[in-house]
Assembly symmetry: D2
Amino acid sequence: MKGLARTGKGQIGWVEKPRPSAGPRDAIVRPLAFAPCTSEIHMIWGEMGDFMPPDRIMGHEAVGVVDEVGSEVCDFSTGDRVIVPAITPTFGRVPAQRGFAQHCNGMCSGMPFCTAKDGVFAEYFHVNDADANLAHLPAGISLEQAVMIGDMMTTGFYGAELADVALGSTVAVFGIGPVGLMGVAGAHLLGAAQILAVGSRPNAVKVAREFGATEIIDYHNGDTVQQIMDLTDGEGVDSAVTAGGDVSIIGQAVQVLKPGGTLGNVNAMEHAENIPIPLAAWGSGLGDKTIRGGLCPGGRARMERMAALVKHGRLDPSLMLTHRFTNFADIEEALILMHEKPRDLIKPAVILE
Amino acid sequence: MKGLARTGKGQIGWVEKPRPSAGPRDAIVRPLAFAPCTSEIHMIWGEMGDFMPPDRIMGHEAVGVVDEVGSEVCDFSTGDRVIVPAITPTFGRVPAQRGFAQHCNGMCSGMPFCTAKDGVFAEYFHVNDADANLAHLPAGISLEQAVMIGDMMTTGFYGAELADVALGSTVAVFGIGPVGLMGVAGAHLLGAAQILAVGSRPNAVKVAREFGATEIIDYHNGDTVQQIMDLTDGEGVDSAVTAGGDVSIIGQAVQVLKPGGTLGNVNAMEHAENIPIPLAAWGSGLGDKTIRGGLCPGGRARMERMAALVKHGRLDPSLMLTHRFTNFADIEEALILMHEKPRDLIKPAVILE
Amino acid sequence: MKGLARTGKGQIGWVEKPRPSAGPRDAIVRPLAFAPCTSEIHMIWGEMGDFMPPDRIMGHEAVGVVDEVGSEVCDFSTGDRVIVPAITPTFGRVPAQRGFAQHCNGMCSGMPFCTAKDGVFAEYFHVNDADANLAHLPAGISLEQAVMIGDMMTTGFYGAELADVALGSTVAVFGIGPVGLMGVAGAHLLGAAQILAVGSRPNAVKVAREFGATEIIDYHNGDTVQQIMDLTDGEGVDSAVTAGGDVSIIGQAVQVLKPGGTLGNVNAMEHAENIPIPLAAWGSGLGDKTIRGGLCPGGRARMERMAALVKHGRLDPSLMLTHRFTNFADIEEALILMHEKPRDLIKPAVILE
Amino acid sequence: MKGLARTGKGQIGWVEKPRPSAGPRDAIVRPLAFAPCTSEIHMIWGEMGDFMPPDRIMGHEAVGVVDEVGSEVCDFSTGDRVIVPAITPTFGRVPAQRGFAQHCNGMCSGMPFCTAKDGVFAEYFHVNDADANLAHLPAGISLEQAVMIGDMMTTGFYGAELADVALGSTVAVFGIGPVGLMGVAGAHLLGAAQILAVGSRPNAVKVAREFGATEIIDYHNGDTVQQIMDLTDGEGVDSAVTAGGDVSIIGQAVQVLKPGGTLGNVNAMEHAENIPIPLAAWGSGLGDKTIRGGLCPGGRARMERMAALVKHGRLDPSLMLTHRFTNFADIEEALILMHEKPRDLIKPAVILE
């Protein structure tokens, strides 16, 4: 079968590999839609792929149809249409039993796609522990919507959850790429009253407002921190979601948090040894500003809840789809587009059906 | 009346001031025991007192007897023996209603002693909102125990609470000064199975073991982080309490946390612009390692709970009392002792009765 | 001044009383809008007023203008337009410090209106601890909206909060009177995907759908429990809010909860010694179905958050206003209407401006 | 192989069955120690076994040595000494991913022993998903201690956890059979200051005090509720654990809870349609008294934490072992003893090594 692989640092190319086979609890899935993600950009052009074997097939965002299931799989059959989470943990492991399946076999080990095996940009791909990780695609959800669920939606929402967004609160979301936009939507769905979204690209600004942003902070108009403080009468925000930028964004978010507030980071950062936390803004260590950052939890239960939100019309994540492709081979162009990040891009995806 | 004041940067001296008077909800208290704290050292010899008015009377740790109450005070009368919390918030304020009384009027504003008015190293001192902040000293608690409750115990315990210490978990406590020792005791009382205490002073090591430390990590024996990883089979700890050291301790604690673990800092840090969080150990931002740091909550309800623990024999905080003084004027020597930190010192206190 | 009072069991009438006066921290407020509530019906025609003194002025839902403030009030002045919460606790009390201000001086003591002093159906009324309990009425909120905040909205939302409504979950709301409707809206704002509302009155059904109900369960169509199980593929719901009916509703809610689910009751029940919890449905005691019931927390911080939701357009609680009156004396008719509960009634209110 | 089975309602007897075999992820374990439990009494002499097939081997509390592992088991080998939890869930199921593994395949389905397959009172027994459910028996824990971990300790502790026992709080524990005693120990380890244990058997009273009970409530001395209220100055308790008695105990516990308090039930109740919750004591539905009841969570992670507590000397659960047997066949006598409940019995066990 064919797959689009990282063929070396900064290089991609098509490879031919045998179709994967299913162990007793696994499934083999044929993609119906897939999308590239910033993580692939980090893996191919950044530091995150430095220890990868050559010709690793990329991709971890997909919706598909089950092509084969192992002998112990109970809930899925060939032909089922499924949402595939980016994170497919082994739920029996001790860290998973403690609530952190995404770190089931070591930090951030819950995503075997790309890191431990081939990814989803292939004619077929392998999903471990199908009963625990796949979710049936409900009727009434389009592929354009569904392909946003497995990573963008769950990751952005996780940012809002990490940030303890509360009913009637004020939230700042730093970054309005697709994860940040889903952070806006997550904060909205969790009951925020006021959502300040930091970003400037017109397409993204428009979608941010549709997802619930009440104010847009554009750094071209002055210091981000100052703008947020001004818009909140000098009080700052209850929660901050960081979903973009470099390590300095964490410090900005700490500065705008009220004492008692919480930061939820879902941005994978590179190119720095340390994240600097401003001591004064953190109350010399005593400000009761909680700093969290995590990997989106995957697995079936979470996918079902995400899908239920889309199915019941609570949000339409396909609003983020700015660049739609229709052929299998287009994933290469979509991936390059993600690398180049033209100003009108939010999220590209290949919809095969 | 007489009081021991900060008379200038790096200077202390006795001052004569009028006895304070009680507003309708306040109390005037005469000390039965008091103790100096590292915070005073920061205020007098460090940066934290740079904006203080001259001749501010120091001290925020005391047990006393009520000398006068305002007309609206219901639950306390002249002659009552009381525990005085270091933190005496205004509980009606909006941040207090949200659960952060210690930041009721702005970050860390919950301790008016020393920062907004004279402290407790005086013949009489003022307590705002007596019904909400004082706690009756129960029979069966000695002054030596009680003087540890209002700051050391509640602060150290808060570290363990911030760190989400869970039943059967493994906890590292960085620093075994009096706050760190109370962090050890707090982790023990919250059900930790294994407590790794970082420190080397023999007196403190002995008390740490009595409070529940199962292992002592001495930096003279090698890298602290490595020792903790070795003692936990490379897994690290579920919770870390930081209660001493400079800003670099936060990074060490992040390194030894498991994914999903939590850090609780109760150390007031100085002399740095930023706290560096090591990016790799924090999972590039995705490690689900929560970083908290806060000011001990004060108030009556918490004091009553702390006192109940001592009364029912759950711990004896007077084990930390290494230097006991008996005269009012001895507070000066106790304060200087705190500044000089001889190797056998854990905590000095003046017990007047 | 004039006020509408409970003049005896099952009797109401206008009384003349002196205008109340403000203690140092209190405010005297003149109503701009007020509304009767089922609680008054319980107090006048049910058991809840059995121990009330005669001629107690009724009413605890109001928006008003500050007419006088005590000497220690900082944040409010004569002429300020304010939202008045039904629950006005004393926040310094020990139970309040532990997070239960609504029970500050004993169970359900947080509402002095009607129970401990005259209520708001008067030309002027008294608010204790104004800084802690009043909230400024933000620009952009109508009186019709604002009068729903102080009890209906905060109470219904509290039901959803007690029920631990989670992102993407399925929720049943029993009862779609005004509190139940706010339970629907609260579940919606907290991120429920599917909301099953139990009720049948056409006006209320229409508003339930506008507030986010995805299905309506009408008991005329068969057994409520069975209908809910059918609509959830036999799985039941994650959360249940009970906001109406008699004690048997609790058992119904327990029956439809999944193991691990939570019930949040905000219905004041009468006319029974016990609430029966069905043993089998509660897993013989082991089903991990949490049963909560509580009084809405009041106070300023919560009012500000509720107001922020309305101000930022997250919901329009005035959709519940079916019977609008405009004269001060109309409160009598509104109260009788509440007692008679005609089929087209959701909520009556008197809007004076 | 031989096993002790329920041969009919109210009947036990030895049966001969083939040794079970291990699927790819399972283990076959040979017991080193086992113990009967009240659940078996319910299954044999009560209602809970009414739908069981004949000759079902009883028993769900055991420590053993691994005799065989399936091909996919990674962390255990033949000869390993292991703690076996009573509850051995399938952790990948959706309810488990939501935190309720004990209800993974329907309410209370997490214990296949006895209910879905043969139990542990046999020469060999089967454990599903060995890597997820077994825990290595650490050096330094005796079999007498270890045999208490898999059900008694985890169940009793779960009661204290359900009851939200907090640092410095007051807790009532209803029932001081082995689960109740572990409830006392759990409350103690979670930091309760005052623990009121309800019971009267002298052996159990003695052990309750060793586990941390500060007061014993004996119903022979008067009304239980009244005694608890008297001992708490009329305030009641913050948390209540119910671990014995009939359905009326829940009502008693609700009566002694403070507003804001929590009840944690771990008692499997029979012989009633409904549990009556006293309406007045529950604040007419508004008292903010949370009622929880659940099945102890099992699995490896929890067993490891329980074992760590014993290993580090935080408690000695073998204090409950009043009747020690040494031969395999003695389990019959131990089980009958559990049924007859002589006054000096706390817990019997068979220790085979």
